[in-house]
């Protein structure tokens, strides 16, 4: 686990000084994070990283979990899908299971924070314990087009909070409480984003039998229709008519996700007969993902829908030119023609890839701009700063606050 000083060479001393100043303003306040799991999933990953750093900065930060059985988590998984806009049948029985488990947690979870920071829908009902302290609901999900039945059910809880936090402007809702925009971030010192020695990169390429003889185009994503891996192959084939190159499609798929396995089979079928297409079903291995991204000439993220799409930030942080769909949080990370290229279609993606392969200087400039854009806006240090500002904002109503 990195210490706060280790970020100084990446972001500069003054950025860390600002974090210390903010932490000073939060002296005496206890921040209590609550979510449903300590391992696995994006929320646990963020908290595992942020809680120790906030503590090191001097902010009294603690982390508690709610309890829930198999049935409860099956229901909250349905909620999650429904909030993403997928069609899910949610029965009265599902709502009852949610309410019963929530009630047990309300009775058992000890609330002691001056600021209680609730992550995602699973612990949302704890708001019933609200006293004179401040409560924030952090929504990590894309709720731009939610299933209305579930949103209305959850909204009754949400409006009792002091504030809600969303990851992109399009995710916000009409609510009578304050809503803040806090984008997620990447950790520049993590295995996925730290600088790797060339030998490590080479050994990963050798392991997966990928020669470095021509430009490499890569999309790192799980095999899911929403990530459009078939569209990426189509785009690659259009490029390949003019420019010799390789394509890597790498990612995981859950064993219990039959749809994902179907997609993988279709992808393999479509790639058949082209030895320059490398389909890699990767285990969770951050170093390997890092090596593949670093070895790539161009990173692609041709999603049809996307939450925030942090693989874009990962690619940009490695100063790679990125071609990505204009969906979800991607346009926040890429300013078209300045820090990458945005596209809407297979043809658009193919055109952008060709343009970059034929103009290496332009591609290099986009990559460099992209890296600086990520440094300023999407690194963990910015996320820490936003969280501390959020905590402070709960005590002020003005637009301009003198600390």
């Amino acid at each position: 686990m990195a210490r706060i000083e280790e970020y100084i060479p990446v972001v500069g001393q003054s950025v860390i000084d600002d974090l210390r100043l903010l932490a000073e303003s939060l002296k005496g306040k206890v921040i209590q994070h609550i979510n449903s799991t300590s391992v696995g999933g994006g929320v646990a990953e963020i908290l595992n990283c942020m809680v120790p750093l906030l503590k090191e900065l001097g902010v009294d930060t603690r982390w508690d979990l709610i309890k829930g059985g198999e049935q409860f988590f099956a229901v909250t998984k349905k909620f999650h899908n429904a909030l993403h806009g997928r069609s899910e049948e949610i029965t009265q029985r599902d709502l009852d299971i949610f309410t019963e488990t929530s009630q047990k947690n309300i009775e058992e979870v000890n609330i002691y924070g001056d600021i209680v920071f609730i992550h995602d829908p699973q612990p949302i009902a704890l708001i019933k314990k609200k006293a004179n302290n401040k409560w924030v609901w952090r929504c990590h999900i894309d709720v731009s087009r939610p299933n209305q039945k579930i949103w209305e059910f959850l909204k009754d809880f949400v409006i009792a909070y002091d504030a809600a936090v969303f990851s992109a402007p399009g995710f916000s809702q009409k609510l009578p409480i304050r809503q803040f925009l806090i984008s997620p971030s990447i950790d520049p010192l993590s295995d996925k984003n730290k600088e790797l020695p060339q030998e490590t990169i080479n050994s990963v390429l050798i392991k997966y039998n990928i020669p470095q003889d021509k430009p490499i185009i890569t999309q790192i994503s799980r095999f899911d229709r929403l990530k459009d891996p078939l569209g990426v192959i189509q785009a690659y084939k259009q490029v390949k008519r003019y420019i010799d190159c390789r394509l890597i499609l790498a990612g995981g798929t859950a064993i219990d996700d039959p749809q994902g396995l179907n997609v993988l089979e279709e992808v393999k079928e479509k790639a058949k007969g082209d030895s320059d297409i490398h389909i890699l079903l990767l285990p969770q291995n951050d170093i390997e993902v890092n090596a593949l991204q670093t070895a790539s000439t161009i990173i692609v993220q041709k999603s049809i829908r996307e939450g925030f799409g942090l693989t874009v930030a990962e690619g940009l942080w490695k100063a790679k030119p990125v071609v990505a769909s204009n969906v979800g949080g991607i346009p926040l990370q890429i300013k078209h023609k300045y820090s990458g290229l945005l596209c809407y279609s297979v043809e658009g993606a193919a055109f952008a890839i060709k343009q970059l392969l034929n103009s290496p200087e332009y591609a290099k400039k986009l990559g460099e701009n992209g890296r600086e854009h990520i440094r300023s806006n999407f690194l963990l240090t910015r996320h820490l700063r936003d969280y501390m500002l959020l905590f402070l904002s709960l005590y002020y109503n003005e637009d301009i606050v003198y600390l």
């Binding site: 500069g12 001393q13 003054s14 950025v15 000084d17 600002d18 100043l21 903010l22 303003s25 731009s144 969303f166 402007p169 399009g170 916000s172 809702q173 009409k174 609510l175 304050r178 809503q179 803040f180 925009l181 806090i182 204009n326 969906v327 300013k335 078209h336 300045y338 820090s339 701009n369 600086e372 854009h373 300023s376 806006n377 700063r385 936003d386 500002l389 959020l390 402070l392 904002s393 002020y396 003005e398 637009d399 301009i400 606050v401 003198y402 600390l403």
Partner: protein, 223 residues
């Protein structure tokens, strides 16, 4: 090097950190945009005319306002986009007057091109109104003369330079940037103060602005 004049009052550098607050208001066409520009709080006009400066601080200068970007890139109204982009923000002493200029630019355009009202943003590309909440904190950096001042300028955050140049002048309605004010009133160098005040910071990146300030002040110190 000539001896440096000690300031009557030292200059304390402040920093400004901001948090974005979502308003839940969104526009899909130019009419809705115009109506909401009239209604939203000043902190939202401020956000959309200054966000680019902070978020794209290392890139080439860009239109320093989201309204210009959205009307050209999303609605395809390049002419209106250009007119909005070329609003000379530095000429406006208050957010109020800046807001009026934006409204007038859009209204004038719509008078000549009423068909523009029919253009809608595609789903997902609506204009979302956001407001900036500013937190202003004193840093530990204090300058007693121009030598110390320029040394600090090299290492202070971009946020601090931003605060003293942009926020102090427009949002806090001080009428001038803090650097020029201090250089004139505490160092007594009006020429240098004016030279800094004459810079158009909206057509530079913040890093370029930092370099330019350092260059101008260093030149004066070495005379």
């Amino acid at each position: 090097m000539p001896e440096l004049i000690e300031a009557k009052e030292p200059f304390r550098f402040y920093t400004r950190l901001h948090l974005s607050e979502l308003t839940g208001l969104r526009a899909s066409n130019i009419n809705q945009l115009l109506d909401l520009i009239k209604q939203v709080p000043g902190s939202s006009i401020y956000h959309h005319t200054h966000r680019f400066l902070q978020q794209h601080q290392y890139l080439s200068p860009e239109p320093p306002n989201d309204f210009a970007y959205w009307t050209s890139e999303v609605l395809g109204e390049d002419e209106l986009g250009e007119r909005l982009a070329s609003i000379d923000t530095i000429q406006f002493p208050t957010i109020r007057s800046l807001r009026e200029a934006i409204i007038k630019t859009i209204e004038d355009f719509l008078k000549n091109d009423p068909m523009a009202k029919l253009k809608f943003a595609r789903e997902g590309a609506e204009f979302h109104f956001i407001r900036s909440i500013s937190f202003i904190l004193p840093t530990n950096y204090v300058a007693h003369n121009l030598g110390e001042f320029v040394d600090i300028l090299r290492k202070i955050t971009i946020d601090s330079i931003y605060f003293h140049i942009f926020e102090a002048r427009l949002r806090l309605e001080k009428g001038n940037n803090d650097f020029s004010y201090w250089i004139e009133s505490s160092i007594g160098n009006k020429r240098l103060a004016d030279e800094i005040a004459r810079l158009d910071p909206y057509t530079r990146t913040l890093e370029n602005l930092r370099k330019t300030l350092i260059k101008i002040i260093e030149r004066k110190i070495s005379i």
